[in-house]
Amino acid sequence: MSGAFFEVEDLTVDVATDTGRHVIVDRVSFTLGKGEILGLVGESGSGKTMACRALLKLLPSKRLSIPGGRVRIDGEDVMALPDAGFRTVRGKRIGMIFQNPASHLDPVMRIGEQIAESVRFHHGSSRRAAEARAVELLTQVGIPDPKERSRGFPHEFSGGMRQRAMIALALASDPDILIADEPTTALDVTVQAQILRLLKELRDARGLSIIFITHDLGVVAQLCDRICVLYGGRVCEIGDKRTLLADPRHPYTAGLTGCQPGAGATGSRLKTIPGYPPTIDAMPSGCRFHPRCSNAVDACARLQPPFEDVGQDRRLACHNPVVSELTSVPARGFA
C-alpha cells in the first residue's frame, strides 16, 4: 500500500460551533493508485465533502480547521507545504469538480474565458493559445459546437453541459488527480450516464486518478475500482468494489447495499436502516453506527473499533462484522 501514488493518512477536520469543537472528519485514511477511481460513499453529512475539501485546504468557513493528517502525492507530503507552495497543488496536482456547477462557475464570466484563465495561469500561454485550448477542452468533454459555446455564459447551459464545462475547467490545469464531488446527483439518469462515461474515458486517456463522491451505490458500482465507505466522519470500510459490494462486512455497508430500491416487486417493503444519521453535536460514543446497528454488541457503545486490514486489500472498522454469506449481489429485478 505504501507505494501508492496518492496517500491520505489520518486526515481530520474540526468545526467550532456554538456548542464547542466537533470532529467532522475523523482520521480518514485511504490510498489511490495512478489511474484508479475511488468511490467515496456514505450518506449525507457523513463528511465526504469536507474530507475532500480538506485535501485542497479549501474549507468553506473559518470555523473549520484541519488539526492533523498527511497527504502524500508521489511521496511528497503536500499538507506540510506553506500556503504559497500549497497553491501549486490546487489545480495543478488536484483538480476538483463540484456537485452544483451552477453556483461554482462564475456567473458573469464566459465559459471559455474561465477555462482560458486557468490555462493561462497554469501554463503561461498566450491569450489566443489559451482560448484555443479552451475550445479544445470543451470538445474533449463532448460539448457540441464548442467554439460557439465557449462564448456562452454558465446560465445559458443545461445542467449536463454545465457539469461538462466544470470538468473541462478542472482539466485545464492538467491535474493528476480529480476529485468529483457528487457531480451527477443533480442530473438526470440519462445525463448521469453520459458524465460517468466521460470520466471513464478521461481516466483511460490520461491516466487520471479520480476520487468520486456519491451516495448512490449504483453509480459507484458502474464507475469505480475501489470503494471507501464513510459514516459519521469515519471510514467504516475500504475495499475493491466487487468484493465490497458482493460481501459487505461492515453492517452499515451491508445496510446501504440492502437499501437500494432496485430489487423487489411493486408494493413490497424496502429494507431500511432504522433510526436517523447522527448529527455532529450529538455523535454516539464508541462506534458511531451502533445505535442503528443490528449487529451491535456491548463493546460498540464504548469502544471505537480499530481500523484494521482484513485481507483481500480491504480494511474494516467493526467489532462485530457481518458474517460473510458469500452470496452474490442482489439480482437485477427486471432483467
Binding site: 483538480g95 456567473p107 458573469v108 466544470m166
Partner: protein
C-alpha cells in the same frame, strides 16, 4: 439581444413617473402657504401691487388652469418665468446645471475611489482591527453632517494648508476641478460610508461564494480570484444602491453647494423654495426627478451588461 429590449420600452414607463412627479410637485408647491408676491414685495406690500404681480404670473388662476398652462408651455419647450429673477426658467436652470452635475459625478467617482479599497480592506480582515477601523471611519463619515465636515475641510485644506480654494466654482476646466475637490470629498465621505458597508457585505458573501471557492480550487492566487471573480460580482448590488440613492445625493448637494458657494441647482432650488418661485421649484424638481429616473435606468442597463443572467 432580448435582454436589452427594456432599453426601448422602459423610457415609455418613465413617462407616467414624470407626469406623476410634475403633478405632485405642482400641487404640493402651490399648497405650501406663503405667497410669492408678498415675498417679492416684502414689508412694503400693498394690495394693488400684490394683485398686479399675481396677475403677471398667472397666480390668480385656479391651480388646474395653472397646471395646464404649465403643460402647454412645456410642449412649446418653455417652462414659464421665474418670479424672482424674471427670466425664463429653462435658461435659468441650464445655467446652473453644470456645477451640480460636476459635483454629483465627482462625488460618485470619489466615493468609489474611497469605497473600493476600504471595503476590500474591511472584508479581507473581517472582524479584525482593520475591519473595525474601517467601520469607525465610515460611521464617522456618516455621522458628520456635511455643513460641519465641509467647514472642517476648508479650515484644514484651504486655510491652513492652502491646497485648495475656500469656495466658488472657478473659470477654466482645471480651475473648476481644483475648486470641486473639497465639495466632492465632503459628499463622497458620507456617501462612501453607506457604500462601504454594502460593498463589504457583498464582498464577504462573494469571497465565500462557491464560484470563488472553485476558482481557488483551480489554484488561482487570491489576488486574481479577488480581481476577476469576487469584485465584479460584488459591485453590482453596490452600484444599484448608489443609483437608488442618487435622488438623496442630489438633494444632498444643496447643503454642500451653500457651504462651498457653488452656483448650482441646489442653491437655486433652496432660494426658489424660500421665495416660492413656483416655476423654478417645479423645473428643478422635474430635473432632479428626471436625473434620478435616468440614473436608475442607467444602473439597470449597467446591471444587464455586467450580469448576463439578468433580464429586465
Amino acid at each position: 439581444m432580448h435582454r436589452y429590449r427594456f432599453v426601448f420600452y422602459r423610457p415609455l414607463q418613465l413617462l407616467p413617473v414624470l407626469v406623476g412627479i410634475s403633478i405632485i410637485t405642482f400641487v404640493l408647491v402651490h399648497s405650501i402657504p406663503g405667497d410669492p408676491a408678498r415675498i417679492l414685495l416684502g414689508t412694503r406690500a400693498t394690495p394693488e401691487a400684490l394683485a398686479n404681480i399675481r396677475a403677471q404670473f398667472g397666480l390668480d388662476e385656479p391651480i388646474w388652469v395653472q397646471y395646464f398652462d404649465f403643460v402647454k408651455n412645456l410642449f412649446h419647450g418653455e417652462m414659464g418665468r421665474s418670479i424672482l429673477y424674471k427670466v425664463d426658467v429653462i435658461g435659468l436652470i441650464l445655467g446652473r446645471l453644470e456645477p451640480t452635475l460636476v459635483l454629483v459625478f465627482g462625488s460618485v467617482i470619489l466615493s468609489l475611489i474611497i469605497t473600493i479599497p476600504l471595503a476590500t480592506l474591511a472584508a479581507g480582515h473581517r472582524g479584525g482591527a482593520i475591519d473595525h477601523a474601517v467601520r469607525m471611519i465610515s460611521t464617522g463619515g456618516l455621522g458628520m453632517p456635511a455643513f460641519w465636515l465641509g467647514i472642517m475641510l476648508i479650515i484644514l485644506f484651504s486655510v491652513k494648508l492652502g491646497l485648495f480654494p475656500v469656495s466658488g466654482y472657478g473659470q477654466s476646466v482645471a480651475d473648476k476641478l481644483h475648486h470641486m475637490v473639497l465639495p466632492c470629498l465632503t459628499i463622497a465621505l458620507s456617501l462612501s460610508a453607506v457604500l462601504t458597508r454594502s460593498l463589504r457585505a457583498s464582498l464577504l458573501a462573494e469571497m465565500e461564494s462557491d464560484a470563488a471557492m472553485a476558482a481557488r480550487a483551480r489554484g488561482l492566487p487570491e489576488h486574481i480570484v479577488f480581481r476577476r471573480h469576487v469584485l465584479p460580482n460584488s459591485l453590482i448590488p453596490t452600484l444599484n444602491l448608489l443609483a437608488v440613492n442618487i435622488g438623496w445625493l442630489i438633494s444632498g448637494t444643496v447643503v454642500v453647494e451653500s457651504v462651498f458657494a457653488i452656483p448650482g441647482m441646489g442653491q437655486l432650488l433652496i432660494r426658489a423654495i424660500f421665495t416660492r418661485d413656483y416655476m423654478v421649484v417645479q423645473g428643478v424638481a422635474m430635473l432632479f426627478a428626471l436625473a434620478s429616473v435616468l440614473t436608475n435606468f442607467l444602473a439597470d442597463i449597467l446591471t444587464v451588461v455586467l450580469d448576463p443572467r439578468v433580464t429586465l
